[in-house]
Amino acid sequence: MKILVPVKRVVDYNIKPRVKADGSGVETAGVKMSMNPFDEIAVEEAVRLREKGAASEVVVVSIGVQQAQDTLRTAMAMGADRAILVLTDESPEPLAVAKVLKTLVEKEGPSLVVLGKQAIDDDMNATGQMLAGLLGWGQGTFASKVDVVDGRVNVSREIDGGTEQVSLALPAIITADLRLNEPRYASLPNIMKAKKKPLETIPAADLGVDMAPRLSIVSVAEPAERKAGIKLGSAAELVEKLRNEAKVI
């Protein structure tokens, strides 16, 4: 069984994003970039499934600029077997990403596609569900536990009031939530090994997919800043303020 794991290169989660002065977007030039944290969890889960013998190969794919190679190398240092870079200078929306991934799924024939539930840049939380829809596959989103048993995959899902279990026919889509696993750090020998693993580059245009955006950005603005308030000396003082100044209790 082959597993496909799409990964996205995003502004590192430790960096505070800055809105560009012209309001056209968020500054990414000269900013530290890393693999989307939820995608790391997805890679980890796929590699564990292979290590357990439930899968035979883990293929990672990224859609983006040349530097997304670094993200793919990181995924291979974590244990993925090979990588595909779909090269584009655009930042495709989830609909376009799902269409590109669909062509790769048709080419590669994986039984499982594991994605992060959400990218921390556009916060869309949509690509996995959209890919599942386009492929006509079942979807186990916001997964906190994944078991492949007898040609099906059982998924525990994080829902608003607790947890839910669903069972999906394979092939299927999984999107990884926070508690699914704790991704490993790549060791130095594995980082060296990853440099020799195969990485195929495909120009996005060669896939014949309509990637035109459907959403146009009117503006991007900083949210209203909250001001720091006052520090108080005691619980009694705090309760007094909440009662008489903020009038909130």
Binding site: L95, G138, G161, E164, V166, P223, K231, A235, K241, A246
Partner: protein, 308 residues
Amino acid sequence: MTALVLLDHEGGQIRKAALSAVTAAARLGDVHVLVTGDAALAQAASRIAGVSKVLHAADARYAHELAEPLAALIVSLAGGYDHIVAAAGATGKNVLPRAAALLDVQPIPDVVSIVDAQTFVRPIYAGNALATVRSSDAKKVLTVRSASFDAAPAEGGSAPVEAVAVVDSPDLSRFEAVQLSDSARPDLESARVVVSGGRGMGSEEKFHALDPLADVLGAAVGASRAAVDSGFVPNELQVGQTGKIVAPELYMAFGISGAIQHLAGMKDSRVIVAVNKDPDAPIFQVADYGIVGDLFDVVPQLVEELKK
């Protein structure tokens, strides 16, 4: 123009967040709602103020709101609607993007403000930026944040209920079981007061130090991602970019440093209180009132004072 709202439910109740989605949809036109489950849920839906028609999908295959059959059903109904809307919760985020893909539409998640029928404001980068986007799709598929729209009154309407036909879809997924946290406390997303703990709570056991305070305030209990990561509390209590977005009247943060991704989930609260040992914790930069100190001293003192 008419909007279709997917009313999600949990534990036999329509989720309060879905009532906020009704309010948002009413800004776009006439409101029809789609609800699954038993007849009591359809009746509850018909009483929501501002709803002009209830579409009831009573068939058992829809009862658990599985994305695969429900998205197919939404697609079959989509023809008559300009907007398809749901609350930005686990169900809406699971089902609507799938339906959008089948409609060849790019969804617009987490809408916090409606500019016009095509134009919406949504946070990106954990709320560090607000993007105003205009959709060129013929239909708009959106999820809306309940913290940004008042809930429609649950009573006052008398919309007709219409049964909708089952749409054949392959048997891709099966519901197995659900575990809901049986909390007597108010729902995190609609509570007036939220008391949250972070890594500073120390352990699963010590996290319960917040219980007496939540009791006396009638508050919901929340947590930072660090507290969830550390295994102190289940994920459904998580407040932040990848958890729940809350905007209560009063948000009290204990032992929470104030990471960007946590602030994304609570910084629209009206009044924020922070208690932390570290005077330089970033949470103090957004707090209206702060106490630098040990939360295990401060919490019992607060309970004591509040009981006076």
